[in-house]
Symmetry: none
Subunit: 235 residues, 2 copies
């Protein structure tokens, strides 16, 4: 079953000598976790699947059980693996990023989270206005159309709204800001979906504000984009 794993390159014990006299530490446990993560990312083990047992991993990587456990533990804390005592270890997610977010947000007030999201949204709008390309503009325009289309269905509307802002986030071309914004947005979506329900403005006015934001980004005006974004949030 794990024959293909027998071809795993022998793990180098101790340190790795670099050019000159510099030495880079590369702990066995780190080597193992790196290899495991690479295997997961390359699809050797898919999400939901069980990875080999600890004794099997000992055999595969030729290290002690403690080292295996150390590696598995780090991937567990990174959200990549999920361990079930008496059963086995499963692949939870191939994405290292949003796994931990939920746990972290659990204790923080919704108000702070919303504010953090809004802050990032404003700053993202500014960057997007500077860095967007033609493709981004097209994507945002499309999302804006969809957003305008539906009015009655709240859930659909919320989703369209998030899509619109996610398109803007993508246009910032900054991986970490995108991931931060997405993680927080999805978390908030689960918690509340009524930002537009408490709005003091009419639907038409909100649409207009979004239109303005789009134009600012399209025309590459960061200050205007930032202001428009703030206007939307200050509803």
């Amino acid at each position: 079953m794990f024959n293909e794993l027998a071809s795993v390159k022998k793990i180098a014990k101790g340190c790795v000598n670099m050019e000159d006299n510099s030495v880079k530490r590369y702990p066995l446990s780190k080597q193992v976790s790196d290899k495991l993560e690479a295997m997961i990312e390359s699809g050797d083990y898919k999400v939901g699947e069980k990875i080999p047992t600890e004794p099997q991993l000992m055999e595969i990587f030729q290290v002690s059980r403690n080292t295996i456990r150390e590696a598995v533990k780090s991937l567990t804390w990174a959200g990549v693996l999920e361990v079930k005592q008496g059963d086995g270890t499963y692949v939870r997610s191939s994405d290292r990023f949003d796994a931990n977010m939920k746990q972290k947000y659990a204790q923080v007030s919704l108000k702070d989270i919303a504010e953090a999201r809004n802050s990032i949204e404003v700053t993202i709008s500014r960057i997007a206005a500077i860095r967007r390309n033609e493709d981004d503009i097209e994507q945002i325009a499309e999302a804006l159309r969809k957003r305008k289309g539906l009015k009655e269905n709240i859930k659909e509307n919320t989703k369209a709204d998030i899509d619109f802002h996610m398109c803007i986030a993508e246009a910032s071309h900054n991986t970490i800001l995108i991931d931060l914004y997405r993680s927080i947005s999805y978390y908030l979506e689960e918690q509340i979906a009524e930002r537009h329900m408490v709005s003091k403005l009419k639907v038409e006015e909100i649409d207009e504000l979004h239109e303005k934001l789009f134009l600012a980004i399209k025309e590459g005006k960061p200050d205007m984009a930032e202001m428009s974004s703030r206007d939307i949030l200050d509803i």
Copy 2:
């Protein structure tokens, strides 16, 4: 030196019996980390201070070194402790919130990370100008003084600079923004420490910009704070 610790209640080995027949596992390492965290939260060990060495902790809690290390590790990953090989273990934060973002950031380009940090810094400056209180202003002023003081030692200077901006972050009174900023800052501190070395401006001009940011926050001018913050980063 650690006599007051001798009074720590003996840690119960094995399991804790609950009412009925339910049994709740309470691992030694978890007991140790809980106690350590409680001590930190209660002020027995303050932020920046060194906690007892591993052998001392073994003596205090009467458990093996591996157990101590497991406990310390969990607090390290929770952002509460900071371990320095060959030196000791320090209290980084009494707040358990900032989980290990380091691993999450590992695959993202430094450029994106720096930009994300700068974005958050700008938005934090704006919020701080709105929400700061007298105590915040005093803290920031103090950090500004320290920042101005030393000029030659690069490492010290970097630390003072981070402290200054962390004070501003604290003044925003938004837990998640503070933690995001702190996590990213610490990560960047390890990666690069030369933001001011590549600066095109003279030291005096940089100082002046920081002074301006402080005044904007002190006088409660969000727009001016945001602009000043951006000026500092656009160096």
